[in-house]
């Protein structure tokens, strides 16, 4: 069954946009709706609608794999990242000044409607306590910063993801590769959060809520610079890691993780192109912001 899923994943990967496609999109010689998977996006759609449809393509592609038993838990856990992002957006919305925010068109843990109906921070934690994230009903924070709440959400997500991998009962080398990927991903997020919060706050949250979560110290060393630079460098490292691993795991479930990473990167790249063009940015600037593989 895993092999069947991987074959499907190879089929999905073959539909990914290539470097030349991105260049054509940025140059305007080709439009997004000319690509079969994005044909339902209309030129008349407002930016918000276009972005929603782009992420819907990513979700639909992954949802195809979510129907396959044995790997569905992994795929669902990967997609749940979008909901964690939505929860972060909603936290900012309710603690901020209630200006319209964009949500990803995905929900499973809480549901988008329910999430939008929660108007206090405590109600969010309360609702999340009954989900696989197993959030504490009353989290112990050390600062009043919204960033600390967001960091805890991510820590809870990575804890949930590590538990999902542990429960998959796959070959040890596959589990190791997946764990390695998740730790690399978490290391990038850890480096990012320590730019916003102190390392003490991050250590405190990890020790309290996910003591088993580690970071790659070799990767952490290389992630220096501003918050945006850390995310960009992290993305570059993750892409090279994915490209290397894709050759080593062409027929096992680790490939699903890599595919998810590539699909999400494609959606993010298209998002950047759409915004860049909307803002009238130059071709060079847009291209320099894309994560190509």
């Amino acid at each position: 069954m895993e092999t069947y899923a991987v074959v499907r994943a190879h089929g999905i990967k073959s539909r990914l946009l290539a470097k030349q496609d991105y260049e054509a999109l940025v140059a305007g010689t080709k439009q997004l709706w000319e690509f079969p998977d994005y044909a339902h996006i209309s030129e008349q759609d407002p930016l918000e609608k276009k972005l929603e449809k782009v992420y819907k393509v990513y979700i639909d592609r992954m949802s195809l794999l979510a129907k396959i038993p044995k790997i569905s838990d992994l795929v669902i856990a990967l997609l749940d990242w979008l909901e964690v992002e939505n929860i972060k957006f909603h936290l900012r919305f309710i603690t901020g000044y209630q200006r319209p925010v964009l949500y990803y068109p995905y929900s499973r843990l809480l549901g988008l409607e329910k999430l939008k109906s929660l108007s206090t921070e405590s109600s969010i934690w309360e609702a999340l306590s009954d989900t696989p994230l197993k959030a504490p009903k009353i989290p112990a924070f050390t600062t009043g910063l919204i960033a600390e709440r967001e960091a805890l959400l991510e820590i809870l997500y990575y804890r949930y993801f590590m538990n999902t991998i542990a429960n998959l009962k796959w070959r040890k080398d596959v589990t190791m590769t997946l764990t390695n990927f998740v730790i690399s991903n978490f290391t990038v997020r850890y480096a990012f959060w320590t730019k916003l919060l102190s390392e003490d706050v991050m250590h405190y949250l990890i020790e309290l809520y996910a003591p088993g979560l580690n970071v790659h110290s070799w990767l952490l060393e290389s992630l220096k610079g501003t918050s945006t630079e850390i995310l960009q460098k992290g993305m570059t490292v993750m892409i090279s890691h994915a490209v290397k691993e894709i050759r080593m795991h062409p027929l096992d479930p680790a490939y699903i993780y890599i595919l998810n990473f590539l699909l999400l990167t494609e959606a993010q790249n298209i998002e950047k192109i759409l915004i860049g063009k909307e803002l009238g940015m130059t071709k060079e600037i847009i291209l320099s912001n894309l994560n190509l593989f």
């Binding site: 972060k88 603690t95 000044y97 501003t226 998002e271 803002l279």
Partner: protein, 199 residues
Amino acid sequence: MFSELRFLPASRGTLQLLRRRLELVQRGKDVLQMRRDQLAKELLTMLDELRKRSEAEKAFLEASRRIAALRVARGEHEFRSITSLVKPPEVVGVTISYQGVPVPQARVAQEPDISKVTDPDYRTAIEELWKAVKSLIEVANMEVAVEKISEQLSYVNRIVNSLEKNIIPLLQDALRRVEERVLEEELEDFVRVKLLTGA
């Protein structure tokens, strides 16, 4: 108003009236000339401030570019959600007086609150943008003030010119005419009295 000057009766009373009116108009013209000079001086001072416009525009473009770059780098979803944490500034309209000229001005009643934004990249970009917007508000205020003062200056100038080129010469003409008539009448009276007394 001044067409009546032609039909004024030639008398000593009219002469007094015209002299008083001329004196008043000349005093008014002097006062307006002084005001004109004052406004012109104020305008010159402001023109120096207006030169800051290009700098303010440049800073604004730079800050906008930085925000746009951040928006592309971090994605629209994150950008919108982070910026929803910023309490927008409050700008109110007030009318203030520049040399007695009422000028509408924009005043920052409340600075934006970015305390909830913890990401240093966003904070720096938002702070820079706000600084640039504030400079633009200052320049815009100055431009409106210059416009209103220029309008006032041109109005005062028109009145001074009208007094100088039109009203004062008319009054002076009328005064001269009435003066001549009064003198003639006085001379006639004098001759008539001499003849009657048989001198």
